[in-house]
C-alpha cells in the first residue's frame, strides 16, 4: 500500500469537491497542527497554542472554512445545498481527526446547530442572514455550540425517540416577541468561553412529551444572562473545551427559534445523523494516523532481530488493525451516503428511525473498533506505547470519549435493537 489514501472508500459516492477540500485541509494539518499537537494537552486551559491553529483553518485569514454551510449569496460556500454534504463532512472530519480529534470536534460542532437552519430542505433565510456576518466576515475562528446535556439524566436529551424531551429542564417562555430562557447545561463542546453562538434545546412546557413543546433556540453568547463556567479537566480532548453553561432570564427575539413547534423536534432529531457521521469520520481519521505511526514503528523496531512487521504473528495482529481501518472507512462513508440519500427516492429522511438506528449501529461499531485498536497499538509499541512522543497514546485518550458522547454506547445499542427487532419497551 502506498499511502493512507489507499484505504477503500466507495469511490462512486465521492464528490468532485473532495480532492480540493482534502488537500487544502491536509496542508493546514501538516503545517499548523502536526508540529505542535504534542503540546496541546498542556494547553487545555489557555488554548494559547490551539487558537491560532483554528484561525488558520476556520477564519478568513486562513481557509475560512467556518462559512462553508452558509448560502453563497450570504457570503458562504453554499455547502448546505450540496447533495454531498454528509460525504464532505466525513472527509473534513477524517482529515482534521487524523491530526487531533479534539480540534476536529471543536471545529465541526460549529456547523452542528447551524445544520438545522442552513441545510436543505430546512434553510431559515432570516436566521441565516442574521448569523452569516458573524461567521463569514471574521479573521478569527468563530465557534458555535449545541447545548444539550443537563445535570440530571445525562443522555436523556439525546434519547428523543424514547423520552420525547420529557426530562428537559431548560425552559423557554414567550414574553411578547422575546423568548425568556432559564436553565443549566453541562459539557457542550465549545463552551467554557469558546462558543459565541449556542443552539439551545428547551421545553416550552416542563415535563411535556409533545413535540410541539420542544424548542431549539439560538442564543448568542454575549446576551445578558448567559454565563459560561471554566473548562473541565479531562483525560484528553484538550482542544475541545467543555464547561457549565447557565441561562438566567436570557432574552432573545422570538424568531431566534429554529423553525417552530413540531419542526424544531424534527430538525433536532436530524442533527443526530450529522453527529454520528462526524464521529465516524473523526475516528477513521485518527486511525489513519494510527496506521502511519504504526507503520513506521513496525518497520524500524524489531523482535527476534527482525522488523516487527516481518514476524508473521505480529503481522497478523497489525494486519487486523489495518484491516479494521479499511472496514471502518468503508462503513463511515456508507453511513455518510445514507445521510446524502435523504433526498433520493431510495433514501430515507434524516429523522427516520431507519437512518437514526443504522447510523447509531455503525457509529457504535466504529467506536468499538477504534477503542480496541488504539489499545492494541499501544501494546505493540510496548514500553513506548504510553509515551506522548509516539502520538498514539493521545489519540487513545482522546477517542474514548467519542464512544461515550451523544448518549454513549448503550443508547446506540438500544436504538439499533429497537429498529432491527421492532422492540416496544426498550
Amino acid at each position: 500500500m502506498k499511502s493512507i489514501d489507499d484505504f477503500s472508500r466507495p469511490e462512486e459516492y465521492i464528490s468532485a469537491m473532495d480532492k480540493h477540500f482534502r488537500s487544502a485541509v491536509r496542508a493546514w494539518v501538516d503545517k499548523e497542527v502536526m508540529p505542535h499537537r504534542r503540546a496541546f494537552d498542556e494547553d487545555w486551559k489557555e488554548h494559547a497554542l490551539i487558537e491560532p491553529a483554528f484561525d488558520a483553518l476556520m477564519a478568513n485569514k486562513g481557509l475560512g472554512i467556518q462559512k462553508a454551510l452558509f448560502p453563497a449569496d450570504l457570503g458562504g460556500w453554499g455547502l448546505g445545498q450540496s447533495d454531498y454534504a454528509f460525504t464532505i463532512a466525513c472527509t473534513l472530519a477524517e482529515e482534521v481527526g487524523r491530526a487531533d480529534t479534539a480540534m476536529a470536534v471543536a471545529f465541526m460542532v460549529t456547523y452542528w446547530p447551524l445544520t438545522t437552519i442552513l441545510v436543505e430542505p430546512h434553510v431559515n433565510r432570516r436566521l441565516a442572514a442574521q448569523f452569516a456576518p458573524m461567521f463569514c466576515n471574521s479573521d478569527k475562528a468563530v465557534f458555535a455550540a449545541l447545548a444539550m446535556t443537563e445535570p440530571q439524566g445525562g443522555a436523556d436529551i439525546e434519547n428523543m425517540e424514547l423520552l420525547g424531551g420529557k426530562t428537559i429542564k431548560t425552559t423557554a417562555r414567550l414574553d411578547g416577541d422575546e423568548w425568556v430562557i432559564n436553565g443549566h447545561k453541562l459539557w457542550p463542546t465549545n463552551t467554557a468561553g469558546v462558543g459565541q453562538l449556542f443552539g439551545v434545546p428547551c421545553t416550552t412546557r416542563l415535563g411535556s412529551t409533545d413535540p410541539d413543546d420542544f424548542a431549539l433556540i439560538f442564543v448568542p453568547a454575549d446576551v445578558k444572562g448567559v454565563t459560561q463556567g471554566g473548562p473541565y479537566e479531562k483525560a484528553g480532548m484538550a482542544a475541545d473545551k467543555n464547561g457549565d453553561l447557565w441561562f438566567e432570564d436570557v432574552r432573545v427575539p422570538a424568531w431566534y427559534r429554529a423553525h417552530g413547534p413540531g419542526k424544531d423536534a424534527q430538525v433536532f432529531k436530524e442533527i443526530i445523523p450529522w453527529g454520528l457521521v462526524g464521529s465516524m469520520g473523526f475516528l477513521v481519521g485518527a486511525m489513519m494516523n494510527l496506521y502511519e505511526v504504526l507503520y513506521e514503528f513496525v518497520s524500524t523496531r524489531t523482535y527476534g532481530n527482525r522488523p516487527l512487521k516481518e514476524n508473521d504473528a505480529i503481522a497478523g495482529l497489525i494486519g487486523r488493525i489495518a484491516g479494521d481501518i479499511e472496514v471502518c472507512r468503508i462503513l463511515a462513508y456508507e453511513g455518510a451516503r445514507i445521510g446524502d440519500r435523504r433526498n433520493r427516492p431510495y433514501g430515507h429522511p434524516l429523522y427516520s428511525e431507519e437512518v437514526l438506528a443504522k447510523l447509531r449501529n455503525l457509529k457504535d461499531f466504529v467506536c468499538d473498533r477504534a477503542v480496541e485498536n488504539f489499545g492494541r497499538a499501544m501494546d505493540v509499541l510496548g514500553v513506548y506505547g504510553p509515551d506522548r512522543q509516539y502520538d498514539i497514546e493521545k489519540h487513545w485518550r482522546d477517542i474514548k470519549i467519542i464512544q461515550l458522547w451523544m448518549g454513549g454506547k448503550q443508547l446506540c445499542q438500544m436504538e439499533a435493537a429497537r429498529y432491527f427487532y421492532n422492540c416496544k419497551t426498550l
Binding site: 494537552d41 446535556t149 440530571q152 439524566g153 445525562g154 443522555a155 436523556d156 434519547n159 424514547l162 423520552l163 420529557k166 453541562l186 459539557w187 473541565y232 479537566e233 479531562k234 483525560a235 480532548m237 467543555n242 524500524t300 523496531r301 524489531t302 523482535y303 527476534g304 532481530n305 527482525r306 522488523p307 516487527l308 514476524n311 504473528a313 505480529i314 495482529l317 477503542v371 489499545g375 492494541r376 499501544m378 501494546d379 505493540v380 509499541l381 510496548g382 514500553v383 513506548y384 506505547g385 504510553p386 509515551d387 506522548r388 512522543q389 497514546e393 487513545w396 485518550r397 474514548k400 470519549i401 464512544q403 461515550l404 458522547w405 454513549g408 454506547k409 448503550q410 445499542q413 438500544m414
Partner: protein
Amino acid sequence: MHKSLDGLFLSTREQIDEEEQRIVNTVRQWADREILAKRLAYLENYEHEFAEKRRMLLMDIGLQRLALSEKDGGFGWNSNARAPGLAAVLMEIGRADAAIAYLSALQFITILACGAENTTSAGALISGFYNTDQPVNPALILPGPGTLDEQTPLFFGRSINVRLVHKGEDDILIGKNIRPTGCGAMANHFFVVCADSAGKPMVTIVSGDVKGLQRGNTLKETGLNACKNADVTFNHVKLPLEAILEGSASVEKIYIWLNLLLGATSVGAAMNFFEIVYDWANTRTIKGGSIMKENPICASVLADVAEEIAIARFLTDDLARLIAMLASRHSPELQHVYTMSQIVGYRIQQGTLRAVNRGMELMGSAGYAREWHAEKHWRDIKTIQSNLCGVGAEVPVKMDTARFFFDCKEIQGEQS
C-alpha cells in the same frame, strides 16, 4: 460503597496467614484514610501528595522493608512462599494509587530477585540501597524492542539492549537510549538485564549515581504520572563484581514476579474503580427516572466489570499459589511457572483494563473527567499493560506459550 470488597471478591485466601492479613489491613486503613477519603485533595496537588502518602506507607508503616530479610532489618517476606501475601498487599496499595503500588512492586522484585538467588553479595548490595530512611525509587531495564541497525542478544526474542563487557579487570556496561520500566528519571538504582560477550542474559544492579550513567529528558506518559521516567544510557559504566547476579534463571524470575505483582497492582486499581462504579450505578438515573443499575443492559455492563475483576483476582491468586509451590514437594519447573506467569500476567492486565473500559461506558463524561478519578485508573492500568508487553503486544507471550506447550524451536530467533 457500603460493603466490604473481600465479601465480594472472594480470593481463595486460606493461604494467607495472620501476620500477612494484619499488614493487609494496615495498608487498607492507610488507603482509606490517607487517599480515598480525600481523593480530590490528593489529585489537586498530586505530586506532593503522592510523595507524602508514599513516604508514610514506606517509612512510617515500613513497607519499604517488607521484602528485606530479617537480618537486614526487614519483615522477611523474601521467599516464594510470600507470593500470596505480597500480592495481597499490592492490591491494597493499588486500590489507593497504582503509581505507589507500581514502585513498591518494583522494589520487591529487585529485592526478591537477589534474595532468591542467595547471592549474598548482590543481596548485601541491594539491601544497602534500602538501608535508608528515604523512599527508594527503582527501575528495571528489561529486554524489549530492538532496532534495525543492531542485532542484539535475545531473551526469547526480546532484544537485550545492554551489553556487559570485560575491559581488562573491569566489568563494563554499555547501552544507549534505553527505555526503563519504572521511574528512570528519579531512580536510585537500576536493575538491568544485560548480556555478556557470549550473549548470555544476566542481571546487574547499577546505582543511580555511578559515572557514565546518563538520563534523557523526563517523558510525558499516559498514566502513572508520579513515576517520572526517562531513557538512560550506560556509557561504559564500571560495575563492582557483586553487582552481577549469578544464575541463568534470574531473568525468568524477574518476569514471574513482575507478572504477579503488577497484576496485583492493576487488580487493586480495578477494585477501587469498582467502588466508584458501584456508587455511580446506585445513584444515577437514566431513561428519565429509573436507577441505572436496574436497567438490564447497564446491569450487564456492570456484570462485566465485576466479572473481569473477580476472574483477574482468581488468576492472581492462582499465580501466587504457583509461585509459592516452587521448591515445594509439588514444585513445577521454573519454565512452566514462567510461561504461566506470562499468560496470567497478560490476562490480568487485559481483564482489568476491560473492566474499566466497560465501566466508563456507563459513566459518560464523568468517566472521562479528572475529578471522578475513574479515568486515572484507566490510564494507570493501560500504562502498566503496555509496559508489561514490552514490544509487539501479546505476541512475545504467545511465542513463549507456543514454545512451552508445542516445543517450537525457531519462533523466537536465535537463542543464546
